[in-house]
Symmetry: C2
Subunit: 560 residues, 2 copies
């Protein structure tokens, strides 16, 4: 076991022996014609020029139990597991989301794995990377400028400014922009209306970007986005406005996946990053498929716990292409189990076997859920320095009793390039070579309310679902407008199986309250909102930006 030392993630990343990205690409089998360098250590891969067979690699989906607010280390485990699989001789590629700049300036300081399991160059990936999010921001805001201009210039489409469902976005944590009034200042400055800004990762264009199968499909999906309604309450789409071509043009370079490397030199495609609440929360389909053309095993991640991220991966993303996972890794930590067992957040580092026992029901429900999709789960116990051997042994023993493969991983401290993930990799590889029989949870033919019912009953363990009056009205609209065949994207707290973040463990006897339904006709899903969902975060009293700087040599300071 390694002690977590005093080096920051940025320190470790900068000490790493990073290789020119062209070397990584060559090793990954990417032909020069398909590679477009962005600086020394980043590149875009053009799937249309890639000389590689059709997608065939097996997918390992990294998910988690219901997390603590600090997170259980899914990205770190994804990176470390891939490094360990590579170390064992497999041809591996990682597919991960791109970090959002807003939270980096706010709380997090960085989002590219941690310790010795990071993707590099962490500073560039965490800041502007190759500009994909900026392209999404531009496309989103171009759409809204064009919409408001259409209204200003005479409103031929009869758009009702009070029924707009699409907002402008910034990749920034900026609470002051949540609710605004625009178009003030008189007749020359536009038409006043109530509006608001979301963070870029909440844009439907980000979701579209991540679900498109190619450039033509991207264009088609952009055209299908409903941005508002007419005074007659008919939906108005981007295609009605005629600007899907311009939006596609703004995204044509961004849509190519970004190649980077881990500290251990494993190739990683880091591309796209939709929210895990009002969207599906995983990297672009194009990146996953590109990775499946190049590698035998693709390790990827879905946001939040398995009740949200994994379910959406299975029921939304895996309907669009053959990307169903052959194994699901469920990341668990001793500290999260103790939290679910009733321990206060400031006491999670103290040894407490009883709390582990009390909290493990949460993990059990996630594992049983994964099996409902016909996929075998593997538990990755992400080790922390404060974990005792007794606690780890107990948890391994519990997994064995449950009939689930499990391994302790120290990919943060020792790295997957070291021996920190060898055992986990061996267990995952064994599951990959066994047969499985993937299935979606529900049929798209079911009415929307029944799709929601199957998720809340079978995955969350709820008794049922309660629709608010607005949600019932929206259900009727969805049927009327012909959108009832879309899958459902649940927006629920990640901290509980219920829609109440304080109900930890494996709650029973609860109802899920759907307060509204939002049709995302471009992305191709119906968002079911349960409780309040924050689509524009705020900054904390002392933002991470206060610590950030550039040293005299031009190197970054304060990303961690």
């Amino acid at each position: 076991m390694s002690e977590r030392n005093s080096l920051s993630d940025l320190d470790i990343a900068r000490q790493a022996d990073i290789r020119p990205i062209g070397d990584i690409a060559a090793t990954a089998g990417i032909n020069a014609e398909a590679l477009e360098l962005y600086g020394r250590y980043k590149a875009k891969v053009d799937p249309a020029r890639l000389d590689a067979p059709a997608p065939a690699g097996k997918v390992v989906l990294v998910s988690a139990m219901s997390p603590t607010p600090a997170g259980e280390g899914k990205s770190t485990t994804t990176v470390g597991l891939a490094d360990s699989l590579a170390r064992a001789g497999h041809k591996v590629m990682i597919a991960l989301r791109e970090p959002s700049l807003g939270p980096i300036l706010g709380m997090k300081g960085g989002a590219t794995g941690g310790g010795y399991s990071q993707v590099l160059p962490m500073d560039e990936i965490n800041l502007h990377f190759t500009g994909d999010f900026h392209a999404v921001t531009s496309a989103n805001n171009a759409l809204m400028a064009l919409v408001d201009n259409h209204i200003y210039q005479g409103n031929e489409l009869n758009i009702d400014p009070r029924r707009m469902t699409f907002k402008r976005v910034l990749d920034m944590n900026d609470r002051s922009l949540r609710e605004v009034v625009i178009g003030l200042g008189g007749p020359a400055q536009g038409v006043p209306r109530q509006d608001g800004f979301d963070i870029t990762v909440a844009s439907e264009i980000m979701a579209v970007f991540c679900l498109a199968t190619d450039l033509a499909d991207l264009r088609d999906r952009l055209g299908k986005i409903t941005f508002g309604y007419t005074y007659d309450r008919a939906p108005v789409t981007v295609a009605d406005l005629g600007v899907q071509g311009a939006l596609t043009l703004l995204l044509k370079e961004a849509i190519k996946p970004n190649l980077v490397q881990t500290i251990a030199g494993t190739p990683a495609l880091v591309h796209g990053g939709p929210f895990a609440n009002i969207a599906h929360g995983c990297n672009s389909l194009i990146a996953t498929q590109t990775a499946r053309r190049l590698a035998d095993i693709v390790v990827t991640e879905a946001g939040f716990g398995a009740d949200l991220g994994a379910e959406k991966y299975m029921d939304i993303k895996a309907r669009l292409a053959d990307v169903a996972p052959s194994a699901v890794v469920v990341v668990a930590t001793v500290r999260a189990l103790k939290m679910h067992g009733g321990v206060a957040k400031d006491k999670l580092t103290a040894p407490d076997l009883e709390a582990l026992l009390a909290g493990v029901d949460n993990l059990r429900r996630h594992l049983r859920n994964v099996e409902k999709f016909g996929v075998t789960p593997v538990v990755a116990i992400n080790r922390f320095a404060t974990d005792t051997q007794e606690e780890l042994d107990w948890l391994l023993e519990w997994c064995a009793t449950e009939g689930v493969e499990a391994a302790v991983a120290d990919v943060w401290g020792r790295g997957g390039g070291g021996d920190g993930g060898d055992e986990l990799a061996a267990k995952v590889a064994a599951v990959l070579s066994a047969p499985n029989s993937f299935r979606h949870l529900y049929s798209l033919d079911l009415p929307v309310e029944e799709k929601i019912m199957s998720i809340v009953q079978e995955i969350y363990g709820a008794d049922g679902v309660d629709f608010s009056v607005p949600a019932l009205k929206r259900l009727a609209d969805i049927k009327k407008n012909g959108w009832a065949g879309l899958p459902v994207c649940m927006a629920k707290t990640q901290y509980s199986f219920s829609d109440d973040a304080s109900r930890l463990g494996a709650p029973k006897g609860f109802t899920i309250h759907v307060r509204d339904l939002i049709p995302k006709t471009g992305a191709g899903f119906i968002v079911a909102l349960t409780g309040a969902v924050m689509t524009m975060p705020g900054l904390p009293p002392v933002p991470a930006a206060m610590r950030m700087d550039v040293d005299d040599a031009g190197n970054p300071v304060g990303l961690s």
Copy 2:
């Protein structure tokens, strides 16, 4: 003379024989360590790693007479002249501004020269390029999110939300955002205040970006930006908030100049793009200086006519480093001269010698102005297909009478790589080898009102200047706050020497009305506003975006 054919700029650009940017860099003498590729045809050049001598190249500044709304072809002339100088055996580099995305989606469709005098790849440069403007947008909006968060979290700095002088920005033509109210929605959503958005090129951070001498100076200037005032009316700076480090971090890659090539293969640094009204309107100082390290002749451009762009180049940019021009090219067109001679805009293509004679006073005043800086002007007559030989001959003759070198250039139709600019290049080269004695128009020690007086009298030909009551109050504040030693940046219509766009030719007997003064303490100048200045453009009834698309092969459509 070439007929302007039916090929669009995009068609011509796509037919061009573009070379890998590494080849261009090698020819330009850029060592591999200093080059960071961005795709196949774009690269960033890191001045800190550049193995080249100190800046020594001579600068040719391309400016213009007072233009028509369509523009007189300064960028096209800049590109073509550089190509012609290269064709004549000179070691040449271009330094140009980056285009702004907003106007491209609105009116223009592209801003990288035209015809056979373009920088390539025109589609990428016109869309997201290497993301510099996105980085400026991010830094600007990070600052404002941090400011509003500071107010929300307790407002330790005592910032008066009613006296904020800094806005959020988007690189978009979005009139609905000109005047907004933010922070609505109750105590959890921030503090309500009146606000607005500018286009990114109007951000003071863009001006700072373009005037910084290096990364340390960038950080220093960012810290000096005044974003508002306290309740006690004391200025509050970015350094007071303590986030100049974070803003520098967000700009550390963007600040490296971008290398591209012309159709003829001449290397061009295209970098930065401040407004020419409320800012100084030329590419980054770092790009100009980098070009001067690599080439014997640097051809660069300043926005608007010579009364604005050239004056600001001389009195703002050329005070920060040794970038004073050794020659100034004044672009003139037969059509613009006729417009100044009283011809209606829809009649400019009809031959009209009398109108030429009546309009040429405008050109004369610009030429005499250039000489006031101790620099020799050269007239570039940018040829249009509708110009008659008689008109061109008359204009050449007139220039000879005035004692000014002049040449007809057809760099649009024949290209500088062809013979379209040979004569112009020869005249410019001759001026470059003659001595000159550059001087600024005014001393920084003069009071602000006297600096303004010298510009309006000596350059504009006005009788004097009239300050509004608010401007007079601001003058007192400027003195009180110790900013009186800064140079002045005039914000005036480009269409007239006066502040009334309809007064064409060389008006006399007028007064310049300064309605407000805006201290830009980071950029280091005082903006003098005359008349209304639009800092957030709107979209036209049929935006250029309506024509834009991607074809089946992924190629851009509708940029022109």
